[in-house]
Symmetry: C2
Subunit: 347 residues, 2 copies
């Protein structure tokens, strides 16, 4: 009986393995000569399809501009690190997104920003949590990665680090928009913690719904030298408690990059991303089972996370792109050296 | 040609799979009826074998007492969570270890403490980083896990959280011992960042060496109900920069627990543990390849980390125990329901 079970196990395992192998071959054949690839996100959540046309167009326009910046840099031979930093800075500066200017507010009415970046060449990484005066948190995270022996600085320590790093500083009021202030007031009235931003409410002229939530921006890229990089930047959740650290500054949770597998940036319920080590888990599945990026991302987003938790974008070492989410929508875009250029909000 | 390659691949894969399967069976057969298991560590590093007898005995005595507390609790049917919290509190209170009282000092001369805890039943987790007035950081981490919607609070936010949680508070001076103050002065003179504690210097009468470093305490356990839990607590590194967050409060890096696989606590160069997602990676290897705890831990500690980075303790869902390190020594102990009771410093 044990022998039969064992035989069945081998047959089943072999079948599964050969299937995966074939599928991987297919994915690679689809992109025989990808020289570069890039994917971006501006948050996942319940974005109503009844969103006003001007709101939708504002997002599409901004995502298109962000993706164009990154795509053009990569086409011209820029490193994936330079490309993701530049694109994330653009999105941080755009008040549409819950990162940098336009970030949501904590329960004390301030903007506290998190960001992280990882270099797939050597797994070097940098991250900051809870900064209040750094105009572009992603650039400070990169400074930590490239100039510090450490990976993560939090709170006052991150501000001190910024003093020495010489990055551009602003008053906390720079980050705060009228829409975010109203969003906080409504959240406090309801005594709820709202995750990240909602696309619709951020545009100001569309009412909040209890469902439209989540935010964060992230970019992943493969450059012409075959190097992967990932970065994520966020203002966290509306009405979050002072000092709460989500997944965005946690290497392995919200951000991961390894040249041998993939580069990942996530967006959604940070706690779920932390306890499931979402970004790293996708890389681990690829490394240890030989699964494709798409297969690995689907396992984590659809089988490990709960419905509504959020989504990820990823670029594989072969240039393949995955954009997987379990929310109704995710602001996102993807481009590559084969002419792909696609910006979407819903399925 | 492709068919032959494919056939070879199947044969090879089948062989590998059956081998792993057999090995796992062996590990289980070694421990046919483990009702509970516990492992503890008090830091890994270069502990000189010339350590004075009284220093060595102090560590062995403290580790033995800590292990006895945990073993007895588990024998009496306590939950793994209660056992790990109680043992870590004991180690936090003992100035021998770099956690709680006796923690090393930052470059500003204060103690900043980190801790995390994870429940293998449902992947719930809690962590705090950079608290300065919480007597037992592990208990605050557990409070976050059980009473908050969040996982990680850092810096001032963690202090605010402690205000509401009602945990025992102390002046920062409570944590500071004369030995740690002298250790900091020496480190500042040398302008070096020293990781965690060294067993020898902590005992006060043995000179620091550039090599004896690393610290942190951690406990992992399997209880009679089959539930795994892991916890880690640390003062970080001597002369570390204010606000630096290491791996100990990062779920997936320094701590992980999943009833389906294992419970892990790590100690060593925090940045290396973060970028390799060490604790979670061991769980992932078990989950996705069927490797045993020992096999998975050896892959991560010996193949992913660099020599000298540190070590881990782990308990598997079958009660197996792994204690793997790439430093000359690790303060550690292991006990189980079959009568194992072992405390060691070196190989």
């Amino acid at each position: 009986m044990r022998h039969i079970t064992f035989l069945l196990f081998i047959i089943l395992f072999t079948a599964t393995t050969s299937c995966t192998d074939t599928e991987m071959q297919e994915v690679r054949n689809q992109f025989p000569s990808l020289e570069y690839s890039i994917a971006i996100h501006g948050g996942a959540g319940v974005m109503s399809r009844d969103m006003p046309v001007e709101t939708r167009e504002a997002y599409i326009r901004s995502l298109t501009e962000a993706l164009t910046i990154g795509r053009d840099m990569l086409a011209e031979g820029a490193s994936s690190l330079d490309a993701i930093e530049t694109v994330i800075r653009f999105m941080e500066d755009d008040p549409l997104f819950n990162a940098g200017r336009g970030a949501v507010l904590t329960n004390t009415g301030t903007a506290e920003l998190d960001a992280s970046v990882m270099d797939g060449r050597d797994l070097s990484a940098g991250a900051i949590a809870g900064v209040k005066t750094v105009k572009n948190p992603i650039s400070l995270a990169r400074h930590v990665m490239e100039n510090s022996r450490h990976i993560l600085f939090a709170g006052d320590g991150a501000e001190h680090y910024a003093d020495e790093a010489g990055v551009e500083r602003v008053e906390n009021s720079y980050f705060i928009t009228d829409n975010r202030r109203r969003q906080l007031e409504r959240a406090i009235e309801r005594d709820e913690v709202r995750f990240d931003h909602s696309g619709s409410s951020a545009a100001g002229d569309f009412p909040d719904s209890d469902n439209d939530r989540f935010g964060t921006v992230g970019v992943v890229a493969l450059d012409r030298d075959g190097n992967l990089a990932a970065g994520t930047s966020t203002g966290g959740m509306t009405n979050k408690r002072f000092g709460r650290v989500g997944d965005s500054p946690i290497i392995g949770a919200g951000t991961y990059a390894d040249n041998r597998t993939c580069a990942i940036s996530g967006t959604g319920t940070g706690e779920q991303f932390i306890r499931n080590a979402v970004a790293y888990q996708i890389s681990a599945i690829m490394e240890y089972t030989g699964a494709s990026l798409q297969e690995a991302a689907e396992i984590v987003v659809h089988e490990k996370l709960n419905e509504g938790d959020g989504g990820i974008i990823g670029v594989g070492s072969d240039g393949s792109i995955a954009m997987v989410f379990n929310t109704p929508g995710m602001y996102r875009g993807a481009a590559n050296s084969e002419g792909l250029f696609d910006v979407r909000i819903w399925d």
